[in-house]
Subunit: 325 residues, 6 copies
């Protein structure tokens, strides 16, 4: 490997060899979509969702839009990373004192393991308005609600997989009440996951395919060249938004510094299941598995706000692409 | 049957057994779309349209968008309820005195039989602005224009299939001049079909999938549990509107009272012919046939403002679903 | 008098000789505003309001915006038509059966006497949405709510002062949920004030100063040349709406026919109390007194949604102006 | 005094007896505006600004819009609280290490004294986007920049004048990039002024005059009945926004709890200098002086985004009003 | 004089000494407004208009908005430059062949003398859409229509007072169909006033007070330091647009080059007649007289789209200001 | 042939017999799309592009949207008119003096041969704003930039294939900065390709399918009945724009005169590759080849802003259709 992945090895990472010559560092799974419409009872669409290694397999926290049009979080488990046993009962969280936390709604979850704890972030309602919710779990059964790191209006909260300089680091995308027609990625620090400060701008839209807004996608991946941030970028045509995926490398010690950033997108809607659905023309990266032994990377991404898909790459392909474009 | 349908028997109702496990009370016809693009000379798309039993078969009043982009009404006849002989000449109406009524435009028709007369309602232009037009026919050849029950701006006018407490009852959806981003269903009474009053609110959007607006769909179906109203509900994504179908039960004697209402939709765009077309992501219910002997129900609905489709269900499935969700 | 006023004589009509050379048929009262800010306890602004002859003096139904920003109706009495004793308690209406009618809100009232009964129309909430409310009173103490003649969304309901061809006639301006950026005047008939039909378009915006929308103002005044309709017309600048007053003559027997219409406005915001206030640049005609003996006319109009004013003219000046422009 | 003010005595508080019978708890200074247009060299308008007792007199942090249309902060001093010596040089801040902090822009400052330190909050640019800036000073000469308590987009940051349960408490109004057409007041805690958490919704718009948005105004005033929060509320007419002032009482120990809140506004634009200017129809409370010995209160507020004014009241009048409406 | 004015002497230039200490290079006439509301029969408001020396006095081409809200052009003459005899009959133009040119509408005229001919430019309708119209006159009686130099959508066409490098030079502001929320100043060349090319960008908005759009105002004035361009710049508050006046110096030989530009505005709405009216908060420069012998300059500008005003300065004051800010 | 084509014979014109019965004069190629996604290295989509006969085959100027979302122009060559060898290097233009012209962006090119020179028009940036760029080439290797015929904001510039009355003739569609929600086709003349004047309105939207805006498509084709103009027309649904193709015949000597115009569209999105993609529901005509010997016509058009397609017809079919509808 030309560049090294600094995380753990993941020998059972789902992976397929490239079957698609698209000039991009990612290629799609031939098994896409891996979660189709009406996946479980009462749920219409599962798409923008988080997957992490868990035990001998994988666990996922899924955005499921119910038949009454309401987004909730669901938990699921998989042996191979493709096929998930998703529970019909939405996730029920509790406060530290055991009292139930009544979630107004929950969507676009991310999950990250720090130490032996999994932290879940998602778009939650605070006073009815969208902001980031934070919860922790060790077993994906009991989820303890830890509050809202930031005030409304915010979406796309993503935490780094380890403390940096002794502090937790969170990416967010300040938003508005609706289909936010703007958006930059910011970063905040915390010593205790409860109080956050030292807010910094990380990056703004740069290329045309992301000119409307950008937002963090998968948990940043530590590489020898910096934190690899896979994010979504949005442009607006006369018929709606188009979501593509971008990539950047952030400084390992000061992740508000962008070292490199690809002018080109790394993935864009092309397949019928990405271009047709509840929201046409969306690829929305939410999670990535990586294997430091091989440099392999498996990306999970939402497709057209309707189904869930996977794509693959390697550290070398991605970093060469970002450093080259 | 668990619940009874109070209308007439319709032994020749088109019907297919369920082939689709979607968790919803309706399943689609395997013959969809039953009217495809460019169906007759000069007409680009036939979609949101009305079908009623007529003679030994069925008659339809169809919305046809011409090759110059103008919506007009067309009449058609069918033996089996699937295959329609649609006349190329648009419907020409006349006043009671025989003078021609020059329709500016006509779209989204509904048809209901009361006694031995068929009443047609559609979106008509009054002073150039959209409101409900009303006409009557007995033979689907001669259509007598009866005026506009309500002032602009209105759409989705649907009449009940019998008088209630001695008066005709009309559902409408007050609208605006354009792609109306709001809408509730109201109800009005008339003794003579000419003067209307006693306006009541029936219902407003409730669930997320219908949060933008709702509008009456098929003629209400009389059941032992109330009037079954199949209606459309609309939500708005960052790339446009999505039209689904909802269901409610209205009080038999006071149909402005909602007895039950499904939080879940009963049908939502999933098939390629519902998700792709002139207006992506539309299922638009306009008519339903029902057979009181078997509880069978055949729904006609517009797909993507482009083609015309059918779906099936039974009273028992629908009412269990509405009462259960 | 060149033209005759067909209504009753009103010897105590408030009137002032012309003091303003503005090229328009109306001149303002030197006592303007006749109702200033904070006119009664708990009320911030009284403006778009109705005044009619009553007993030996005058009665008014006033739009009062309370200190919590809510529009309600208030009753008041005057001996001279200038100075009103307005009651602090908002009007409370009742149904015919004596049960109280809980008004959600009430604004922009008009009042008309037909026979020995006064009919009040105003913008009322039906299912929370704006439409016309109708009530009757004989003494301005007891107000009986008669329902909503038309469905939402409607504003600016004005009734003619007598039946025409045996039917009541109502002008309305179909509207939307907000600050309606369009609007035409329509007309409807009723035999019983409960059921309304035979809807007709009366007129659309024509000149530049009314290009956004128009709406009926004062109760039409019967003249030898037709019904004199004083109405408001609105244009939109880069800094908001500007409300002026127009005039038209409608056919006495078929008031949906416009016989003459002034291309020029009859009054436009010029004075500080018309140009500065809660909504700058508004003159909003709501009522007119007329004296058939002299042809004198006293106009009541709201100013800048803040205060209440008067202007004067004569039938001859107005009709010459309308027939001449 | 019926109710007690819990803060310090302020024997030199500027004060005038009531000269205005407006039904409201506040009356205006007869010397308004106390800062007129073009107040100092290079500055067009001084308006939404903070004033605090300082030494034997008063100090102010002023929003000044320069002749190139750019909002900056200026410092000024006064002996009587009316007449301010405002320095022509904008405030220049520095980091704790002495390096200059280059402020992109600064507007709508508030100032609060906690212990012996004055904290200044204002709307500052972070990555070019509006959020709250925080600085401290002891002498109004040296201002040390302490960072941004919250991420963009935020405005109207106001701190409580003492720690509550050992933590600093901050009110903010999450906003968007532009003329934010919505807005609720939220509250956050901090142990160190650097990291903030425990975000809570305090209140949303309630009455019609504040239906668009609300935002904290003056530093909360401690009374026997709770924290008195004077805030601004905004409604939208067809010609723009109207800013009034509201009042609420928050729980002394848990200030996210609203104990009482006036449905009526406490001040609304009425005077020519409030209704005419760069932004017509604005009263914008920013600061209040209070004297616990007499219950007197002097309010400073911006007028029409153009000039600076004062109004007066007493604890008793205000609390009776809030408790009564 | 520190800087020289290169044009002609104009001994009878209207002029007043400074009476206003506003920190700006211009001071207003104490006789403002020089044209008030309802100035001539049938005309409501005269404001954005052109004035040039003519014979022993001055001629003007005035924008008059008629009582039907329609903008037309009127001619007027003055001996002193203050008091104008404006003709009631709108200007009627003709083609070169003598056939009448039917102007759809005409507004915001400018006038420039080149050689012995006066050229009038204004916003004219081409196919109903706004663009620049061009006409010539020698006597302000006969106006010959010369066509439209540029396609719709354009406004604020201003010609230089002499050929540059043998070609006519025109400034325009490309626009849209409505209240254009953007706008830069461009420049085009012509050899014959009929065909135009060599289009260049001159300048875009730069400061906050002009951030929405800019447009050329008075005919450029030739000075030793370059062409002095007085232009309008617009910003947008939550209640509408605010028009101020800016100043720039363009290269004498290549006027698409901006040599200097004032960051500060040179005039902004402050007076009641500039802040209140049909469009509040507008100062709109349209014409300037200058006297090379004294360096005096008399500016004509529209106020609030309602009245017409004057302001004064000298070359030295203006150029020092532009070079200094 | 019923009607004659006046251009040159093109014996190698690509052509297919009709395979589609759609009631329209055009039928699609069975080989569509002829250019698919990711056609060349670094380019995501090639669509709205120009093709002309060149040498023994064909040359094309292609709009290619790069992987960073930026539109550029590319050159390509083909022997059969179907299969193009498109160069990976974007077109680099130069000024007449050989200096490179740095194109900000380039899209929607058209190409026309006049004499022995090919003229390329496209949407270019002037001061960053969209307008028409003009270049000439003889060999499709060296492209000389000839400036911008018109000011911003303009798109869809199309030149006639010969001088008319001794002058070059250009069609444009004045536009705005964004997704222009209006648009008419205008025409301008030039003697030298540098200075343009005599601007005329050609046509406005007329039918419902083009009600939002229209713009010229292919280079006009000279026929015995007039210049055949194939253009695009756009309507707006609640989910975005729909682009169809219209046809008109312009007077041979005065091409601003529309002799005939089809009320019906000539092509509309129906195929999956026209309805699904970056911008759903777009057919965008850009070029046409014609063979005067046979009357055959091959149309090139962009599909869904994603791929490139062809359709075929004959002069007789098209003209009969236009003259008949």
């Amino acid at each position: 490997m030309k560049y090294s992945l600094l995380g753990e090895a993941l020998s059972n990472i789902p992976f397929e060899e490239r079957t698609e010559e698209n000039g991009l560092p990612f290629w799609r799974s031939v098994r896409n979509p891996i979660v189709a419409r009406n996946p479980i009872k009462g749920v219409a669409r599962i798409y923008n969702s988080a997957v992490v290694p868990f035990g001998a397999g994988f666990a996922g926290v899924f955005r499921g839009d119910t038949l009454n049009g309401w987004p909730l979080l669901f938990v699921g488990f998989s042996k191979d990373g493709y096929s998930f046993d998703i529970r019909e009962q939405p996730i029920r969280m509790e406060y530290e004192n055991g009292a139930p936390y009544e979630m107004e709604y929950g969507y676009d979850p991310r999950a990250v393991k720090i130490g032996d704890t999994y932290y879940i972030l998602w778009c939650d309602g605070l006073g009815g308005q969208p902001t980031i919710g934070l919860a922790e779990t060790k077993d994906f059964k009991k989820f303890v609600f830890k509050g809202h790191p930031v005030l409304p209006y915010s979406r796309n909260g993503v935490m780094f997989p380890r403390k940096i300089n002794g502090e937790y680091v969170l990416l967010t995308r300040p938003s508005d009440q609706g289909h936010t027609p703007y958006g930059d990625i910011y970063l905040s620090y915390s010593k205790d996951l409860e109080y956050w400060g030292k807010h910094r701008l990380v990056m703004k839209p740069q290329s045309s395919w992301e000119r409307l807004k950008i937002g963090a996608g998968a948990v940043p991946i530590e590489t020898s060249e910096g934190w690899l941030l896979l994010y979504h970028g949005v442009t607006q045509t006369c018929s709606g938004y188009v979501y593509s995926m971008g990539g950047a490398l952030l400084d390992l010690d000061d992740p508000s510094r962008v070292l490199h950033r690809s002018k080109n997108y790394l993935l864009t809607p092309e397949k019928e299941y990405e271009c047709v659905g509840f929201v046409p023309n969306v690829v929305f990266p939410c999670a990535a598995l990586s294997d430091s032994a091989t440099g392999r990377l498996a990306l999970y991404y939402g497709c057209a706000d309707t189904v869930f898909g996977m794509a693959f790459s390697t550290t070398d392909e991605i970093l060469d692409y970002i450093l080259g474009h």
